[in-house]
């Protein structure tokens, strides 16, 4: 076991007191590397809770700059950050929460060419992106690299999340197969979201990352959790690995990563 400093013992005491975390689990957290793709509504709380819990290295990936319309839900960014790269803003807040965390900011949007090298070396990935093509790309890359990840998506008052253990549990493509056609995707005009819904879902994703690292509890593997914040109904749907899945089956039809067009807002 590592020698915890007095400050570390105090900072992480509430983690350490948990039977399923303890000193061993805290040490695992401090040695873990978590990558958060997208530092928006989902990535913000995920990054902040991972930092607070003591995850040793947190990678943050985003090519955007902070805009005023982000601040209603992207709680890692503040008014003074408007115009700054999101990864720089996120790094500053993560270090303010916990200076011991190593932050690896990557100011880029993931694509088929760069995602392989970006996710390489991380123990767990959190998908905090906001479009279907990137969600499928993250799924395919993580399955190919055998890196566990948490999928998350939100719209209006509802959210959904599942945890993928590549080759062991159902992947995102096992369930959703392919990017929906453009007329099935809500336009910008239709895609309002209550900020707290992002916080609820991003926090669940952080919990999955921390559970995966420490081995505590049971993951949302082979399960899709959905919730509706209007009624506060939470539902778990059982999933099964698709033996014909295009990416995680024994004979996958997708063996190379491909970029799909990310729909631009028409409004």
């Amino acid at each position: 076991m590592i020698d915890f400093t007095r400050q570390q013992l105090e900072r992480y005491s509430r983690n350490i007191l948990l039977d399923s975390v303890g000193f061993e689990g805290q040490e695992k957290l401090m040695q873990a590397k978590v990558l958060i793709i997208g530092t928006g509504g989902l990535g913000s709380p995920a990054a902040m809770y991972c930092a607070a819990a003591g995850v040793g290295t947190i990678g943050v990936v985003d090519g955007d700059v902070v805009e005023i319309s982000n601040l209603q839900r992207q709680i890692i960014h503040c008014t003074g950050d408007i115009g700054s790269p999101k990864v720089a803003s996120a790094r500053e807040k993560i270090k303010a929460i916990n200076p011991d965390v190593i932050v690896e900011p990557i100011q880029a949007f993931v694509n088929a060419a760069n995602i392989g090298s970006i996710i390489e070396g991380y123990d767990f990935v959190i998908d905090g992106t906001d479009n279907f093509p990137t969600k499928f790309l993250i799924n395919d890359a993580c399955v190919m690299k055998r890196i566990p990840f948490s999928h998350g998506g939100i719209l209006s008052f509802s959210g959904q999340t599942m945890t993928v253990l590549p080759k062991e549990s159902a992947c995102y493509r096992c369930v959703f197969h392919k990017t929906p056609s453009k007329n099935m995707i809500p336009s910008c005009f239709e895609s309002g979201v209550l900020g707290v819904v992002a916080g609820m879902l991003g926090t669940i994703q952080a919990a999955e990352a921390l559970k995966f690292i420490t081995g505590a509890g049971e993951l949302l593997a082979d399960e899709l959790l959905t919730f509706d914040a209007l009624t506060m109904n939470f539902r778990k749907v059982s999933l099964r690995k698709n033996p014909g899945c295009a990416v995680c089956s024994e004979k996958p039809s997708i063996t190379d990563l491909r970029d799909e067009e990310i729909p631009a807002c028409d409004h």
Binding site: L9, S13, L17, G22
Partner: protein
């Protein structure tokens, strides 16, 4: 082997965290004497240490604190 830990200057939850840390560092069969403030600190550390599967009892209470004896068991 007998080990000693004084946590009378600590506040919750550091009393229990430091006791647990020390317990995790001693060998099976060793004995750890912990000096705590009597009352709530002693009661809560005793309860939590026992919950985590260690043998523990309050040895004696005196003046500024209470002695708690805990042992690691395999």
């Amino acid at each position: 082997m007998l080990h000693f830990l004084d946590v009378t200057k600590e506040r919750c939850p550091m009393t229990i965290v430091r006791a647990m840390l020390k317990l995790s560092q001693i060998e099976d069969g060793d004995l750890l004497d912990v000096l705590l403030m009597e009352g709530e600190p002693c009661d809560s550390v005793l309860r939590l240490v026992q919950q985590k599967g260690y043998l523990a009892e309050v040895l004696r209470q005196e003046g500024r604190g209470a002695w708690l004896a805990g042992g690691a068991v395999s």
